[in-house]
Structures are given as structure tokens and as C-alpha cells.
Amino acid sequence: MGDAVTPTLSLDAVTKSFGQVEVLHGVDLTLNAGEVHALIGENGAGKSTIMKILGGFLAPTSGRVLLDGQPAPYSTGPQAEAAGVIVIHQEFNLAPDLSVAANIFLGREISRGLRLDHAAMRAAAGDLLAQLDTTIRPDALIRDLSVPDRQMVEIAKALSRRARVLIMDEPSAALTHREVDALYAQVDRLRAEGVALMFCSHRLDEVERLADRITVLRDGAVVGRATRGGMTQDGMATAMVGRQLADIFPPKPSAAGDEMLRVEGVTVPGRVENASLTLRRGEVLGIAGLVGSGRTELAEAIAGLRSHNGRVTLMGQPLTIRAPADALAAGIAYLTEDRKEAGLLLTKSLTENLTLSALDRFGFRIDRTREAIAMADATRDFDIRAASPAMPAGALSGGNQQKLLLAKTMLTEPRIIIIDEPTRGIDIGTKQQIYRFVRRLADEGTGVIVISSELPELIGLANRVLVMRQGRIAGAVAGDRVTEENIVRLAMGLGAEREPA
């Protein structure tokens, strides 16, 4: 770590302004060969801007980007890639209608004369994917892949480019445990090969596990640096937020009231098999399971988004749910895991997004004044930080988008709310707000179901956790037995939980 080593890629007193607003204030940063550098900070702290500057997508307003000690010879993303600096964005950059192999070699196709050498590309793609410990077929189409699989393809694509510098934005946000392990193994391998790595993450355990060097950002400035072992997870969180975080999860009252929702024998062909659950007043019911275990499909069936067989009874009344409107009318709301593609209209204003599901409450001629009031209320109640209610929802940070989506769903005044991945890709401060909000809903009598891939989240929030596996409910744990081990055992198909020793 001596100064004698020339960093592979570094920022030297970089500032960046958008119009009048300076969003980065003199940031210094070094990425060394054979090191993993973690960049952490709350949403809006400036992580994305730094990554864009490193990757050539943005030019700094002042300061320098240095590659091997020389001013970086690129000013666009593709030029940066050619120079060996590769960024994997959170929004994947894959052509959905092309095969995995075609995507990996997009723009650098292997050819024999004029003819593309499909076999060679398939074989090379297959090798890369095997290294990543995935079972993705090279000739599968991207559109048929799950989100984590697409992530793996992105990583494979970066590997195929023989990256000198690899920058990853939230690489594990969409991955399951097994895939995360494969990812970590790859990170270790690349580090050993002398690649300079950097990643952003909201998962502090991951940062602790992977990073040789940590830089903490807050409001566009570096507020903390540490090397491996030099900062605890608590320390990181405190540095990011700038204040002491009290216990991130609110306390769980144990009392559960009457049954609110009963779901019996729900089957979604090919996805969910004969799933049943009950939800009681005052409790938060968690649903765990690997990605693809049918948890989202079960929720979507209950919300009328998927055709299904089975019985749903709400407050003792049998319901017929064929369309989302039926569920909404009955008071069942589903908050999607895919907030960008299914939750919010990214090009529309915050207000239009907020009221979309509940427009019938605003009169035949939409009452703009009441809409504005609703928006103001939501902004206050959900602590949505936005420049203006007229700004497009896509311009909000992930955390604020999630809060807006929550506000939008709550505007329909649901009696039951199913929240799928409540905190995916958002910072720890916002997570805490959302956890408190979820708990308050349950305390106030709304039925809450939380679906999550993050086990600590389920353990911290839920009174009871159902575990799904291959479309079926594999089991349930409640109270003290809601532990990571028990959930994982059920999710892995190890049958009944082991009696606590």
C-alpha cells in the first residue's frame, strides 16, 4: 500500500457540478491492482456519479481521472471499455432478444471470415459461465432469464473483456445466496489475477467480507476511509448516516389478533402448487424462499395479477379475485419487487404516480387540488425527498422511489398489504424508515405480508415466516424459531427444522 505503487485508476481532487449544484466536492480515490475497493454511502451520496466518472460516462467538472498515473485517455464508456475499465451497471445493458453468448460477445463477435463463429462463441461463453458456477445455457435468450441470471451474464461479459478495472454497482442486490457465493469467488479470483476492483453495496456484511479498502461517502464528500478490518459494520453505518443508528428494526409485539386473511390451496400452473396461508391482525407475516420459489407468483395470484385456482377469504368473506381491480376493491394491495418496471411510471410526475391506483377517489374530473394535497401529505408521511412533485419519478433515488411506491399503495387504503422486497437496492437510513413504517402498519391493524430475499430483514421484521420451495410452502417458523438457519434449512428442502439444541 506504499505510495511507490502507481494506482491503476484514481481520482484526483475531482468535483462535479450539475448546473449550479456541486454534487462531488474534491474526491480523491485510488483503485490498485489486486485490491477490492468498496464505495459505500446512502442513496444520493454521490456513488453513482463517481462510478460514471471512472467509467468515462461523465466528465469531471474539475480535477483529474488518472489511468496508470496518466490522464485517462477516454471520454466515453466504450472508449473506457477499450482501455480495460469496465462498469457493470445496476440497470443491465443486455439485448433481451439475443442469446447469452451473443450478448457476451456483442460488438466483439468472433468470426471466421465473414461468417460468425457461433460455436466458438458458445463454447467461450459456456466456459465463462461455468467459471461463475452458474447453469445458464449460452444459447438461452436473455429475456427468458431471471434477474440474477442476467446479472451473472453481465459479469461474464465483463470477464470476457479481460478487464483491468472492474466497477460494479450493487452486484449482489438481485442474487440469491448461492449466486452471491459464486460472485464472491469470482471477485477473489479476479483480485488474485491483479484486476483492480471496485463495488458499491448496501450490504455491509458483503463489504466487510470482500473489501480491502473502504471509502465512505456522504453528501458528495469522503467522510471515512479504512482498510480491511479497520471498520466494523456499525462503524460503516454510522459513518454513512452521520449519526448513530439505533437498533435498525423496531420491536416486535408478540400479540396476534383475529384472522384477517385466509388463502387456501392456491395453484398457479407451473409456479405455485397448492399454497395456503393465514394472516392475523397485528402480525407481520414473512415469506422467504429462493428466487424462483414461487413467492412472488403466490403474492401476484392473491393480488389478481395471475390467474389461479384456490380460495381467498378476507375477514371471513370469500372473495373472487380475477383482476387486480377485484383485489384492490376488496382491500388487498400488492407492492411489487420491480419498482422500475411494474411499480412506477418513471417518466411521469410524482403526483401522477401517487394517485394512479386510487384515481377513483379524485372524482370523474380529476381534482388537481386534492391530488396536490395528497402528494403533500405523502411527502410528509413517507419522508419523500424530491425537488418538486412535478419531477419525473425516474429522477428520484431508489429509496425515495420505494417510499413513493409505498405511498402510492397506501393511498388505496388497503386492509391487507403484500410488500415484495421492501428494501431492495436502498440505503440503510431509508431501510430503517421503511421497517418502522411496516411495523406501524401492522400495529395499527393493517395485515402485512413481507416477501424478502434478505433474511436479516425477515428475521428482524416478521413474527412468523413461511418458507417456499419449488412452488410449495415448505414450512413455517414463528417467534424465537425465526432464525437464519431454520429458514435456510426449509428453503433448501432439508425438511422440518431441527429442534433447538
Binding site: P324, A342, L345, T347, K348, E352, S357, L359, I366
Partner: protein, 321 residues
């Protein structure tokens, strides 16, 4: 935000520019009779384009409207000719004919919409098909020739196109009312908001409990009804329909919608913009006829340039965001 939004104001500025140009080139341009002519002519495409705005905004397309107008004009004329000996040549017959046009339009729009939403065939393909079907049907009904309205009925029906309040003839009035209602529906009603939501992301709309299929279907039905309305105004103008009636109207309507700032990929609809777009296209025609500015061969080229410019402005807007 302080910067002038070219994309919003562009079409309007172009319209004003055309007005000034027209007035400079020929004083007759500003004569009420001429303006009345231009506005009345715009009414057919205008009404259709208002409906098209909703269809395009929800992410669809309807190529069949020109053929549909010809077909509706055909069945309207046939219905009235058939009815005339029974009910006599009077307003009652005309009104029955009008209801045939309107009902036919609604039914045709429903067919298009149902094929798109229920049979889940792409709008482009469905309406490409119905475009040919309507066109053949009217050619067949007319036996390759022209269907003409009975002269006794024509005398009664003519004022619907040529009459009005002074220079403001009925087509202008109907067009204006439709435009105001259309803009209101797009801006201020749940229907309009849902149409925009579906166009910007139908998955989000579905997850937000919007009845996507029904709303989509409704836009096609609305468009069909407006085509029917346009037909009601068209028939008294020439009193006839043939296989060549309404040729390329669909493209003119789509062009007007795009010029007006509605995104072809959907999600953002401006009915007032569409009205401006329709007026721009008719004014170009009118001015080129009034002034020997360029060869009339180039009329299509000028309209083409305007359409491409409108799209370029849309893109600049996006880049500036």
C-alpha cells in the same frame, strides 16, 4: 425550466408562422371564407386525429381509419338511399343515416380493439388487416364505382357541411367541441390518465389495478366513433363514397398526432397539439395552392420535412432532460 420548451411550443410557433406567411403571400388568405374553408376541411382528419391521439398515447396504432371512413360513408349512403323510399326524404332519414355512421364506427372500432386486446394481436397487424378489409368492402359495395346519395336527400343534408353560424360552419363547430372535450378527457379524467399510464408502461398500469384491456379497447371504440362523426360531416360535402375515399387519411392523422407532440411510442398525449398538427398540415396545402411558392409536386416533401422536424424536436427534448 426557464428555457423555452421548443418541443411544447414548436408546433404552435410553426402554426403562427404559417399564418403570417400566408397573410404575406396572399391577402385572400385571411379572408373569413378562406379560413372557414381550411378549418372545415381540417375537420375530417381533425376528428380522426383526436381519436388517434388516444390510441397512440396508449401505445397502439390504427391504420384502418381512412378505409373505415370510406366504408362508413358507403354504408351510410346505402342506408339512406334504402330508407328514403320508406321514410321519405326528410331529416328523420338523415338522422337514421347519421346513426348508421356512428354505430358503424363504434362497431368497427370495437372490432379493431377486441382483436388487439382480446385476441392479443399487434395493433399494427390488426389494423393493417382491417384497412384492407374496409377498403375492399366499400369497393365491393360500390361495385368498383361510386356510391352516391339520393339527390333529394342531398339537398336536405348539404347544410350539415356547408351551413353553420355565419362563416363558422358545422364541421368547424363539431371539430372545436370534439377538440375541447378530447383535451379535457386526456387532461382531467381518469380515462385520460389511464391511457397515458398504459402508454408509458402497461405493466405498471396493470400492477396499479388499471383495467388495461378495457381502457385500450375504449380508445379504439372512441376512435371508431370519431371516424363515424367525421363520416357524418363528410358525406354531405360530396354526397358520394368510392374506393378512393379517405385514401391515406390514416397517415395524415398519424402525422398530425406526431407533429402535435404526442409520442409515437405512447405515454404522452396532447390533444391540443394534435389540433395544431392538423391545422399545420391543412395550412401548408392551402398556402401552396394560394401562392405559387414551390412546385405543387413538392407539397408532400414539405409536409414530410415538418413531420421529421417534429420528431427531431421530440428527441432534443429527451436529450435535454
Amino acid at each position: 425550466m426557464k428555457r423555452v420548451d421548443l418541443h411544447l411550443l414548436g408546433p404552435l410557433i410553426a402554426l403562427v408562422g404559417l399564418f403570417i406567411l400566408g397573410a404575406l403571400l396572399n391577402p385572400a388568405f385571411l379572408a373569413p371564407a378562406n379560413l372557414s374553408n381550411v378549418l372545415a376541411r381540417s375537420a375530417f382528419i381533425g376528428l380522426i386525429a383526436i381519436g388517434m391521439t388516444f390510441v397512440i398515447t396508449q401505445g397502439g396504432l390504427d391504420l384502418s381509419v381512412g378505409s373505415m371512413a370510406a366504408f362508413l360513408a358507403g354504408i351510410t349512403i346505402m342506408a339512406m338511399n334504402w330508407l328514403a323510399p320508406i321514410t321519405g326524404a326528410n331529416w328523420g332519414t338523415i338522422l337514421l343515416g347519421m346513426s348508421v355512421a356512428l354505430a358503424g364506427g363504434i362497431a368497427s372500432g370495437y372490432v379493431n380493439g377486441a382483436l388487439v386486446t382480446k385476441a392479443r394481436i399487434e395493433a399494427f397487424i390488426v389494423t393493417l388487416g382491417t384497412m384492407g378489409i374496409f377498403r375492399s368492402l366499400v369497393t365491393w359495395l360500390a361495385d368498383g364505382g361510386t356510391l352516391s346519395l339520393d339527390s333529394s336527400l342531398r339537398a336536405i343534408y348539404r347544410p350539415v357541411y356547408f351551413g353553420g353560424i355565419g362563416w363558422v360552419t358545422w364541421p368547424i363547430i363539431v371539430f372545436a367541441i370534439a377538440a375541447i372535450l378530447g383535451e379535457w378527457a386526456m387532461r382531467h379524467t381518469r380515462f385520460g390518465r389511464h391511457v397515458e399510464a398504459i402508454g408509458s408502461n402497461d405493466r405498471v398500469a396493470r400492477y396499479s389495478a388499471v383495467d388495461v384491456e378495457r381502457t385500450r379497447l375504449l380508445t379504439y371504440v372512441l376512435l371508431g366513433a370519431l371516424v363515424g362523426l367525421a363520416t357524418i360531416l363528410y358525406v354531405p360535402r360530396l354526397g358520394s363514397a368510392s374506393g378512393s375515399t379517405g385514401v391515406l387519411w390514416e397517415l395524415e392523422a398519424i402525422a398530425a398526432v406526431i407533429i402535435g407532440g404526442t409520442a409515437l411510442k405512447g405515454g404522452r398525449g396532447r390533444v391540443w397539439g394534435t389540433v395544431v398538427g392538423v391545422l399545420i398540415l391543412s395550412l401548408i396545402d392551402n398556402i401552396l395552392n394560394l401562392a405559387d411558392l414551390v412546385s405543387p409536386y413538392l407539397n408532400g416533401a414539405i409536409q414530410g420535412v415538418i413531420i421529421v422536424l417534429a420528431v427531431v424536436l421530440q428527441r432534443e427534448k429527451r436529450a435535454a432532460d
